[in-house]
């Protein structure tokens, strides 16, 4: 067996994160292999966002290891960490587009400034990505003039422009009006079917059921269950998960 193919893209070992007295993540041990789509679900305040931010080291873990392609990120200096982050795109609940830059400038900024791409190449990539998310006519608009769904699609395109190996999504549809959720999920679904490795924090159970390869259920500082969506949704093992699903379905 070839050893390289089994090296997971992402792996966390004994990950622990404490804010003051608050032990948010207690002991997390999971792997994400190439092309996999993970949906991370769990009650509010469980530490899902914190976990995601530990994956690209926006938050420094208190202890444990975060391995990206076998390399422990907790041991890297700032410079190499910046370099690694290029390979991990992140999409936020509140979009976080740069309001002082146009849509296409938002997308081109990192490729030009970080990777040193020339303007023409960056522009071509940006245009291609805008087409992919269905916003080719909004290149010169400012973020403030776009709807939430459109802003989130630009944010996805902006992350993709760095050609990342993993995409991290933190509740990408939670801040959207219901009628715009679909357009963003569609873009994400396309991305998944193209083979992108993704970790998605979401409350969209439909998306988790249909698109995820695996569902992680997080509560009380641990990943309580890690299972195929079908198994998880139909036969949750823990009481915590049963409770959670019951509440979600009620709503």
């Amino acid at each position: 067996m070839n050893n390289e193919t089994v090296t997971p893209v992402l792996e966390v070992k004994h990950l622990k994160k404490v804010f003051g007295q608050n032990e948010v993540l207690k002991d997390i041990n999971e792997q994400v292999s190439n092309g996999q789509v993970i949906c991370l679900i769990g009650p509010s305040g469980a530490g899902k966002s914190t976990f995601l931010r530990c994956l690209n080291m926006l938050d420094q873990p208190t202890s444990g290891e975060v391995l990206f392609e076998g390399q422990d990120l907790t041991k890297l200096d700032d410079k190499r960490l910046d370099k690694t982050r290029e390979n991990m795109g992140m999409v936020f609940q509140s979009f976080n587009l740069f309001p002082h830059k146009t849509v296409i400038e938002n997308i081109k900024l990192a490729p030009v400034k970080v990777k040193g791409e020339d303007d023409a190449t960056a522009t071509a990539t940006a245009e291609k990505l805008l087409k992919q998310v269905g916003l080719e006519n909004k290149a010169d608009a400012f973020p403030a003039s776009l709807s939430g769904g459109q802003q989130q699609r630009v944010a996805i395109a902006r992350a993709l422009a760095m050609n990342p190996k993993v995409m991290l999504f933190d509740e990408p549809t939670s801040a959207l009006d219901p009628e715009m959720v679909g357009e963003v999920l569609k873009v994400m679904q396309d991305l998944a079917s193209e083979g992108m490795t993704m970790v998605v924090v979401t409350h969209e159970m439909g998306f988790a059921r249909n698109v995820a390869d695996k569902v992680w259920f997080m509560a009380d500082g641990y990943i309580q269950e890690s299972a195929e969506p079908k198994t998880f949704f139909e036969h949750p093992e823990t009481d915590r998960a049963k409770d959670f699903l019951a509440k979600i379905l009620e709503a």
Binding site: K79, E86, M88, F92, L97, V114, M162
Partner: protein, 496 residues
Amino acid sequence: MKKFAKWLFLVVTIVVTLGVTGNMNTKADSNTPATDQYLSKVKAKGELVVGTSPDFPPYEFTKNINGKSKVVGMDMEISKKVAHDMGVKLVIRRMDFDSLLVALQTGKVDMVIAGMSKTPKRAKSVDFSNVYYKAGEDLVIKKSDLKTIKSYKSLAGKAIGAQTGSIQYNLVKNQATKSTLKGMDKDTDLILALQTNKIDAIALDQPTAEAYAKNTSGLVAINAHFKDEGEQGSAIAFPKGAQSLVNSANKSIAEIKSKNLIHKQYLPNAGKYLATGKSKSAKAANSMWAYKDFFIAGVGYTLMISAVSVVIGFLLGTLLALMRLSKNKIANGISVSYIEFVRGTPLMVQILFIYFGLGLVVNIPALLSGIIAVSLNSGAYVAEVIRSGISSIAVGQTEASRSLGLSRSMTMRFIILPQAMKNIWPALGNEFVSLIKESSIVSIIGVKDLIYQSRIVQADTYRGVMPLLITMILYFIMTFGLSRLMKFFEGRMTHE
């Protein structure tokens, strides 16, 4: 913070000790033959720099001669003679009476002549020439009070004004114990205070009192009848140890006395300048329009000082703000200490410290000192403006930027600062406006800003209120115009 304070204290102590011991080394009494370098230094640079406070007619006062304000009077004629006898050019520096001796000690001027009485206290810090003139003390009062006020004793329960630090000030303090004493820096302010009934009399030395009385309608001078406290009369002050200069000046004074030049020539000449203040042509010259160049120059200096300071303050403030926001504990500590210290001390003291304190180490001209002090001060305030501008940008912006692989500094440059600037610009405009007003304090070290010029016009014209009114209006035009301009640009920015 504590560390910084300690450090600063150390520096001040060293600076002061250096200055003091420097003076002590060359201590000398009046009969010592000169062994010092002062005279040869003056001769080498070819000029004698004289400090004076020209609001003390007939000793020294200013006169608008062909649109230029010149210092004239008895003391200036004596200075001319002293400089002439040394074979050098005379250069006159104007400043507040209170700053004169400090300027002498810190080497800003070579000698001070300002109708200054030779007192034992002063003689501790400077060396005096022989006395060149001694006059009695008068009170300037309103003509209408002539019947009731006969001497300082008639002023029990009333207010007497005197120039702070002057001999008359001490006489009033010691003898007129039943009166309230009002000290002011400028004689012209005292006259104004008398005219507007803030005080009931001004204690001045006799020739000065007579000069003011003669040139201000409604005022008269009477003998104050102070007891003699052993005053020695006016003498010229030199730095401690400048025996060579003292000797040279004493020779000139001896000649002046033997030829009776003061009474024959100097006082009558001064009187002529003063007298023109009443003639018809002089009235025209006293109209404010004749002084427009003074006001224009003042506005120019004030705008220049504020503009340069706001630019330097912005650069310094940006640096301080970044240091304050940085994770580096040392940079953060320096920045916090600096900001707290500068914001916790008065601008006036900072200006005096830069001019006189640093002046002991390097000689910085007044204008430059003023700009440096105001810039350093502004930097601390701008730093807080910039810091709050930066802090107002949502953390999501930083997170998005870092997640794309931008480093901390790139994030600051491309994402945070450009957005923060939109909040910072208007605040910077406000800072500019307040600098225009606050920079007026540089006039205390003789920078020729608008306040300084209005002082000159006041002294020149013997008119107290009009120059102040014009100055006020000019300040208002500057600040109002500027804030309108800022509004206009702000409007355009939000349109973008």
